[in-house]
């Protein structure tokens, strides 16, 4: 179709308009991130030193990967609150793997972590779809259960830096042109999932399910399979994050990852994924995660009292959902106007 042919139906227009919100929504998060970094750098030039950049990227990596997984789930109108506990289990599991098989090749460690996470995600997914109950409650329950299992398994045992092969710990600090490998890996993951969500049939299905589950079902979409798939993907990505956590933080125990769930959900919401599904992108969620982690570092570098940090995060979440609301009202109005014109 060329530019000369005027759109006969308004569907493409609507599509373009929605595309525009996505652009503006992600752009707004990105702009906020840019402003934050520039202001901090002007006040404290050490913020963007080589070491500073490395720290920023490494800190974000784990949250970015988890945020991508969470975004998939939230887009289907569900939520996974158990991610902090899944991270804890897989991170501790990684330590346990090294303790049992000290010479295991590293790719296997990653594989084990991902599969372990995927299984935990599948448990969530199956309970949610089979029982037909809200994911909020189920994953709140599994948050407790997985954490309890982690506590029982780990006890007071912790795996430290010395228990793991040096090359595993070094992975988190090795860089390519000053950029940590982990951060590059996270970037690749974001790109893959962004393309998948944008172009793959099953990716689009997730949006359809989130917008209107019953309609999606009538339309012939395998709703339950897709939702379980989203939970599995979220679990697998969180499992991967758990392995990376073990490499980066190098000390894993019974309470690793406690309380991560709210930060991740917050990152996803700030990144423009609607909490009731159907809209938003993994790219937005990823930028949201970078923004939230950078915020912590930036506030410290700006010498803002540590007491204000949490309040500012709260304000940011509320501002993000307010912004979403305003944008969606504006788009709705535009759509109405354009539809009226077309009639």
């Amino acid at each position: 179709m060329t530019q000369a042919t005027p759109p006969a139906v308004y569907e493409p227009r609507a599509g373009r308009a929605i595309g525009r919100i996505f652009v503006s929504r992600e752009f707004s998060v990105f702009a906020a991130l840019a402003v934050l970094i520039i202001v901090t750098e002007v006040v404290n030039p050490r913020f963007l030193s080589a070491q500073g950049i490395k720290d920023l990227l490494l800190n974000s990596t784990i949250f970015v990967i988890m945020a991508v997984g969470q975004a998939l789930v939230i887009i289907t109108k569900n939520v996974d609150l158990s991610v902090g506990s899944i991270l804890g289990l897989t991170a501790y599991g990684t330590g346990a793997v090294f303790a049992t098989f000290p010479h295991i090749p590293l790719p296997f460690v990653f594989l084990i972590g991902i599969v372990f996470g995927a299984i935990l995600g599948a448990i969530n997914g199956f309970i949610v779809t089979l029982a037909g109950v809200p994911a909020l409650v189920i994953t709140l329950g599994t948050l407790y259960i997985f954490r309890g299992i982690n506590n029982a398994w780990a006890g007071s045992n912790q795996y430290f830096v010395g228990n793991e092969p040096a090359e595993f710990g070094n992975m988190s600090v090795q860089t390519l042109f000053g950029i940590p490998w982990f951060a590059l890996g996270a970037l690749v993951i974001v790109i893959i999932f962004a393309i998948y969500m944008f172009s793959a049939r099953s990716g689009r299905d997730l949006y359809a399910i989130g917008s209107d589950t019953d309609a999606a079902r009538l339309f012939g979409i395998k709703v339950n399979a897709r939702v379980v798939g989203a939970f599995v993907a979220c679990g697998a990505l969180t499992g991967l994050a758990g392995v990376l956590y073990a490499s980066r933080f190098n000390s894993v125990g019974a309470d690793t990852g406690t309380g991560f769930e709210l930060q991740i959900v917050a990152a996803v919401v700030v990144g423009g994924v609607a909490i009731f599904g159907g809209s938003g992108t993994v790219t937005g969620a990823a930028i949201g995660a970078v923004l939230l982690t950078t915020m912590t570092g930036a506030l410290a570098a700006l010498n803002v009292s540590k007491f204000w940090q949490q309040a500012i995060v709260g304000v940011l979440i509320i501002a993000a959902i307010l912004l979403d609301r305003i944008l969606s009202i504006r788009t709705a109005r535009k759509l109405r106007v354009s539809e009226a014109r077309n009639v």
Partner: protein, 351 residues
């Protein structure tokens, strides 16, 4: 907007009895697992002691409790148990203290997460006939008979400042990375360090720029350490008087460009710190043997129950391999002095 859309058709919800039965099963198991806690009517050498640490699942706590367990096993007729929260919260400690009161445990040994919040529960236990010992982190004085302290507060402060001072030539900015903002022991050490900095001319050129809190959480401590280094470019050193904090900071330093340039010292467990001492991130740090605290608590409990001491200043009691311990000012028993660890001696210690 409706929060959730219901999945299936509308027949809903009745049987919660299933949940109740499951619970009942668990409880039946629990009942079987329970061992009788008290032996209130026995002879004076028999007694029960329950430890309530700040939190379970903490390696330092484990070493401490290990000492208590060993001492309890060495004395015959001592029933030893440990209860406590998974996270360091005072309100959860209170629930556990209440259960101990009800079980009529003879001695409660507690490391308080908040000096005041646990007090009323401890007083209730006291009314029920229990003796109260605090260890590690004290409560308000009126709520306990004895406080088993690792070392003199002043000794910790001076050894920390000395170790840092030696390495930065008694000159420049430094920061403290502590545990939680309300931790009694941490705050006492920090207050003493501040007093030393003011009074001792040796430290006149050392400047404490800030105190930050890692909440004894590994990730938080790690990121707080990062924040310190990016905020204070002239930072020469960090003192972290908590085992979690110093390990997290060491890990960050060892993988960053600040390794060897920023001096780190504090209180750490040799097993956690060994690698960093060997790779040059940390030159020296200090601690005492935590097992001795648990051991001292059990022997103090025995003396209290037997009535040979009341916990007043000047009382003495025998504490096995620790020899005779004396109750000092503020009803406090000092177990020993700090040990300093460095590359030369660290391999002699395993805890």
């Amino acid at each position: 907007m409706k929060l959730f859309q219901e999945g299936g058709s509308a027949t809903r919800r009745r049987v919660i009895i299933g949940a109740a039965v499951a619970t009942a099963a668990i409880m039946a198991l629990a009942g079987c697992a329970t061992t009788g806690g008290s032996s209130s009517g026995g002879s004076s050498s028999k007694f029960s002691i329950a430890f309530v640490p700040k939190q379970l699942n903490n390696p330092y706590t484990d070493v401490e409790l290990g000492g208590g367990k060993k001492a309890a096993a060495a004395l015959s007729g001592v029933t030893y148990s440990v209860v406590g929260p998974n996270t360091a919260s005072a309100s959860s400690q209170v629930s556990y203290i209440n259960t101990l009161t009800q079980k009529k445990i003879n001695v409660i040994a507690i490391a308080a997460n908040d000096p005041n919040a646990v007090c009323s529960a401890l007083n209730q236990a006291k009314t029920g006939g229990a003796k109260i010992i605090t260890f590690d982190s004290d409560t308000a004085k009126s709520c306990r008979s004895l406080f088993i302290n690792q070392v003199n507060t002043a000794d910790v402060a001076s050894v920390e400042l000395k170790q840092l001072g030696e390495q930065i030539n008694y000159e420049g900015d430094f920061a403290i990375l502590s545990a939680t903002a309300n931790a009694t022991n941490q705050n006492a050490w920090i207050a003493d360090m501040k007093a030393d900095l003011k009074s001792d001319p040796k430290y006149s050129k050392m400047n404490l720029v800030t105190t930050v809190y890692g909440n004894d959480d590994d990730t938080t401590s790690f990121q707080v350490a990062q924040g310190l280094l990016s905020t204070y470019p002239n930072l020469k050193g960090i003192i972290s008087p908590t085992t979690v904090g110093i390990a997290a900071t060491a890990r960050y330093l060892s993988t960053s460009s600040y390794k060897g340039k920023v001096i780190l010292t504090g209180l750490g467990l040799p097993n956690q710190m060994r690698q960093y001492v060997k790779d040059g991130t940390v030159k020296e740090f200090a601690l005492w043997d935590p097992a001795k605290i648990g051991q001292a608590a059990v022997y103090a409990a025995k003396a209290l129950v037997a009535g040979t001491i009341t916990g007043k200043t000047g009382d003495t009691f025998k504490a096995g391999s620790l020899g005779t311990l004396k109750v000092g000012a503020d009803n406090t028993v000092i177990v020993g002095g700090p040990t300093e660890f460095d590359a030369a001696n660290i391999d002699n210690y395993n805890f």
